[in-house]
């Protein structure tokens, strides 16, 4: 790690002002992505602004048909929260298969979506559920927020404060774990909104990051059942390929994970 200056912010405003004062600052949440990268000397922020102690970034609220998870909430707290389990059990399940216990005790929903790793789990949930990302400046729809590999709509120094999810009629998430990292080799989140709309998002599959899967959405809209997807064919073109999975394999996983997510949806 290169030398850096550590700050612990006590409010979002303070974090923003600290950011403005330093030359090349980075916000620190769970550190599960940022710190390994710094240790490998692949990132060298002049200042690290820790968001971990900011009270207003902590907590989960269920109000009517909206579940709001504050950006600094760790996966473990999401996984074990009664409101999450009641309103959107698929999110509790997603967090339970995210990384390993160490990652779940430190990593945060805000850090995950700010990072927008093409194999991260949460982006699929946000996109499929039609969630809204709240920042210190504005509200951004999931569609607009995720802009490709490791790229988001966030501006320099903008802080995610919360994510709000409309509570769906049904939702499910299934993931094939990457054998080494435990990220999603491919994961598919399926959701049926209360108004009957069907949204399906896949992560870990596309070369351009989290994506909707219109063919599966159409099939499920006609018939919400795993077998409805039997006839769908997913093209391998544009899909990721690496030593753990060819593009054809990932195309297959999009379909198979979608079927299993539908079967598991509640």
């Amino acid at each position: 790690m290169y030398q850096t200056t550590y700050h612990r912010a006590s409010s979002v405003d303070e974090a923003v002002s600290l950011f403005g004062k330093s030359s090349e600052a980075k916000f620190l949440a769970g550190g599960q992505t940022l710190l390994p990268v710094m240790k490998q000397r692949l990132a060298s922020p002049s200042d690290v602004i820790d968001l971990g102690k900011i009270k207003e970034l902590q907590g989960i609220e269920l109000s009517g048909d909206t579940l709001t998870i504050k950006a600094g909430t760790i996966y473990y707290d999401i996984m074990t929260n009664a409101d999450v389990k009641k309103a959107i059990p698929a999110i509790a399940h997603l967090t339970s298969v995210l990384g390993d216990p160490a990652v779940r005790y430190r990593g945060t929903i805000g850090g995950s979506i700010a990072n927008n790793d093409p194999a991260a789990d949460f982006p699929a949930a946000l996109l499929a559920l039609g969630a809204t990302v709240k920042t210190n400046k504005r509200s951004i729809s999931a569609e607009d927020f995720f802009q490709g590999l490791f790229t988001t709509a966030l501006e320099d120094g903008e802080i995610i404060t919360a994510v709000s999810f409309p509570v769906p009629a049904k939702a499910g998430y299934e993931k094939m774990r990457h054998p080494a990292s435990r990220f999603a080799l491919t994961g598919v989140f399926v959701a049926q909104t209360k108004s009957g709309e069907v949204r399906v998002a896949a992560t870990g599959a596309s070369q351009s990051g989290v994506m909707r899967v219109p063919a599966i959405e159409a099939a499920l809209k006609a018939n919400w059942s795993p077998s409805a997807i039997d006839g769908v064919s997913i093209s391998a073109s544009g899909l990721l390929a690496d030593i753990h999975g060819t593009a054809e394999y990932r195309a297959n996983l999009v379909k198979v994970m979608a079927q299993r997510a539908v079967a598991a949806a509640r």
Binding site: M176, P179, S181, I243, T246, Y249, R260
Partner: protein, 780 residues
């Protein structure tokens, strides 16, 4: 046996310090005035070093020196050696490409060091290393075995035309051809044994401390064999004569073979310590471990097995290409030859065997012994062949094995090894019973009704351990003898110190070796301590690998104990005014048999050291030593059976059951044996399902972190069902065969045999990743 004697599952003495974080590893050691080394490593798989500009780095804060490959060559530090000479079939010696500790001219794998920065702290060394400018001229590289032996392939070493290290043969080619000529059936198989990165929990580390006044070096290092390190550093690398070099291997966090070898980093640390006049420390990080710890396996093999009409094996032909990486590591040459091809008879009566092994250089990390070393490759090949044969001949795979088992011992195989004892039917029976082999078809049908493909796979392994009879290995080209030494010191108060040349880096010697003393003397193990890992304390030793520490190292201790006991009995007899022949040792006392006369061990010890009343002519003291050289290898063997399910939608494998029935001869501590088997099985399963050290076509490593290299984790492996069938090893007095490598040797074939059974396709390479299994299921 007593509560702490042989056969007791005594809790490990060493675990208190390991579990409470009080272990003392090389990196925990801090010396006064210590500096820190950071290596500058090649980012290229093959390149010429055109120049190194360290001027900017030398001006950076805390920098003590920047030293280069040219300097280490100029100072006449020796090139790295390979300690086992292999002769090709044309009679020529193996072709050794020169391997200097840092490359002065040419780099041949990513990660090879070209220079080192010595600085006040680790971070300052790393900062300065970034300011060293190395000018490389890239050369074409080759990483794949087949590509390396093609004509026109990039050439690594002028000494080795065609990138060939050797072309070695074993067995009787004429007899094998004759056997094939009369075969009713021939079974053919091509297999790849995937390259593995060893990944001991503790990365390698070294601290070198040169004392200019004494012209003496001390090296603290992560070694499985500190005496061998000293020998090699002295005799071949010109570091210092042996009496001026002390090597200490303190607590070492796992080795699996990778810490047998003497690496460039230790050599450079020693040399640099003298150059800068201060202690030099280097602790590798995980990336350096992936790049520079000797890898394992990496074979490509074609094999054919001939059967008669009654399904008896007539002969075996094997051709193997072994990838050695860019240089020949310390014992690498022996791994695909004498540690591999000599085990190709497996558990079977095979009248004729012929094997040819071609060693190949590639622009990859050097390959050497890794848990099992050659024997996993042999066992995997034979057991995949037997399964393939059963499928082709349409016979039950267990039955095909049984009808070809060796049942008479001793048994001379056609490939050097003479098996001393065993009962292969017993372990097969035990494993089949444990897994309910007969009930499998019903379970398979049940699984099918739930959309799952269920398979069962058998693996009957044999290995040669207790490495090794010195004369035998000497005649085969080994540069060392493979005996072990021990010393028993009884202190004047009766406590006991055992000095051993074996080295514990996870095996539990501090417990098991004490158990022998407890067994023989009836003293609690708390009164015994084990001293190892320091060349100033223990006179000599060959270290720990090849499942040799109990069979060879503990036997040496037994021999020293016997000498000590004989002297102690004389002292006791003298004190008790009895005949020496009437003295027995029980519960820490020397008793006159049939009487209540006795003298406790501390009194005997005290008598030995006060020397006030010893038998006439007896030397004072109670200390004996012994060297033990085994007369043969030992032959642990057993059967592993794996039952699993494959998810046809994803290709993912889930274990249903895994049974292991091993014959290790006598067990000293069954709990520790169980742990060794668990660890070995996990490594074997890791190879079968997850692990693969991959290079791209240009020699760039693709799997140099745990985010890409899949190490097995607890939830990747099943609970194991272990049992033992025992035939005592006749070759050593304790009847021990060894247990350290069996799991890693036998497990992978059981897994692949089970998956291929499940999916109904025979050809499947390791690691059987979900992607690969899925593609195999759906391949036309």
């Amino acid at each position: 046996m007593g509560v702490e004697g042989i056969g007791a599952s005594v809790v490990r003495k060493e675990d208190k310090r390991f579990i409470t974080g009080k272990g003392r590893y090389v990196d925990d050691i801090k010396l006064l005035g210590m500096t820190h080394a950071h290596f500058i490593r090649s980012p290229h798989a093959h390149a010429k070093v055109k120049g190194i500009d360290s001027s900017a780095a030398l001006n950076m804060p805390g920098v003590v020196a920047v030293l280069t490959g040219q300097q280490i060559v100029d100072d006449k530090v020796g090139n790295l050696i390979c300690g086992w000479a292999i002769t090709s079939k044309d009679g020529s010696p193996m072709k050794m490409g020169a391997w200097p500790a840092m490359a002065p001219e040419t780099v041949r794998f990513v990660g090879q060091a070209v220079a080192v920065v010595i600085a006040e702290t680790k971070n300052l060394a790393r900062d300065a290393a970034e300011a060293v400018v190395v000018n490389y001229e890239e050369l074409p590289a080759v990483a794949d075995i087949h590509a390396a032996i093609k004509s026109g392939a990039p050439q690594l070493h002028p000494e080795a035309p065609g990138n060939q290290v050797y072309d070695w043969v074993i067995g009787d080619e004429g007899a094998t051809d004759a056997a094939f000529a009369k075969a009713a059936n021939v079974v053919k198989l091509d297999v790849t044994n995937n390259r593995l990165a060893p990944n001991a929990m503790e990365p390698r580390a070294a601290i070198a401390d040169y004392d200019a006044a004494e012209e003496h070096f001390t090296l603290y290092t992560t070694s499985q064999n500190p005496h061998v390190a000293r020998l090699v550093l002295s005799a071949f690398y010109n570091i210092a004569p042996e009496h001026k070099l002390r090597v200490i291997a303190p607590d070492v966090g796992g080795g699996f073979g990778s810490k047998i070898f003497i690496y460039p980093e230790e050599m450079v640390a020693l040399w640099a310590s003298k150059k800068v006049g201060r202690p030099v420390k280097w602790t590798g990080d995980r990336t350096e471990a992936f790049l520079t710890d000797a890898h394992g396996r990496d074979h490509v093999t074609h094999a054919e097995m001939a059967f008669d009409a009654q399904n008896k094996i007539l002969g075996l032909k094997v051709k193997t290409y072994a990838n050695f990486g860019a240089y020949m590591s310390l014992f690498s040459s022996s791994v695909p030859t004498y540690l591999y091809a000599t085990l190709l008879s497996g558990q079977y009566n095979i009248p004729a065997i012929h094997a040819e092994v071609v060693g190949v250089y590639t622009n990859t990390t050097p390959v050497d012994a890794y848990r099992g070393a050659g024997r996993p490759e042999a066992s995997y090949l034979i057991e995949r062949l037997m399964e393939t044969a059963a499928r082709q001949l349409k016979v039950d795979p267990a039955q095909l094995r049984r009808s070809n088992f060796i049942t008479q011992f001793p048994h001379q195989t056609p490939v050097i090894m003479a098996y001393d004892t065993g009962d292969f039917n017993a372990s097969l029976d035990a494993a089949m019973k444990a897994i309910d082999y007969a009930g499998f078809p019903a379970r398979k049908a049940q699984a099918k009704s739930q959309g799952k493909l269920r398979g069962i796979g058998v693996s009957c392994y044999i290995e040669a351990c207790g490495i090794a009879p010195s004369k035998a290995v000497g005649s085969l080209g080994a540069g060392v003898g493979l005996w072990e030494s021990a010393e028993v010191r009884v202190n004047p108060v009766g406590t006991i110190e055992i000095l051993t040349g074996s080295h514990s880096h996870g095996q539990g010697h501090e417990t098991t070796f004490c158990q022998l003393v407890a067994e023989r003397l009836g003293v609690p193990i708390s009164q015994v301590s084990i001293v190892h890992g320091d060349t100033d304390k223990v006179q000599f030793g060959m270290g720990t690998y090849g499942s040799r520490s109990a069979a060879v190292g503990l036997t040496a201790i037994l021999k020293a104990m016997e000498k000590m006991e004989a002297k102690a009995k004389k002292i006791a007899a003298h004190a008790l005014e009895a005949s020496e022949a009437d003295i027995v040792i029980e519960n820490g006392e020397f008793k006159v048999t049939g009487t209540d006369k006795a003298i406790a061990l501390p009194m005997v010890a005290l008598a030995a050291y006060t020397a006030h009343n010893l038998p006439d002519g007896m030397e004072p003291g109670l200390k004996e030593s012994a060297f033990y050289d085994p007369t043969n290898f030992t032959f642990p063997a057993g059967t592993y059976i794996c039952e699993l399910e494959v998810d046809p939608g994803t290709g993912k494998t889930s274990f249903v059951n895994f049974v292991a029935a091993d014959d290790f001869g006598r067990l000293i501590n069954p709990m520790i044996v169980e742990g060794q088997v668990h660890g070995g099985l996990v490594q074997g399963i890791g190879q079968a399902l997850l692990e693969h050290a991959i290079y791209d076509a240009n020699g760039q490593p693709v799997t140099a972190s745990f985010m890409d290299y899949a190490m097995p984790r607890a939830d990747d492996v099943p609970s194991f069902n272990l049992s033992h069938t025992t035939t005592l090893c006749p070759g050593n007095p304790l009847g021990i065969k060894g247990c350290g490598e069996a799991g890693a040797i036998g497990a992978s074939a059981a897994v692949i045999n089970a998956i291929t059974d499940a999916i109904g396709k025979n050809n499947l390479e390791m690691p059987a990743t979900p992607d690969r299994v899925w593609r195999t299921i759906h391949a036309a």
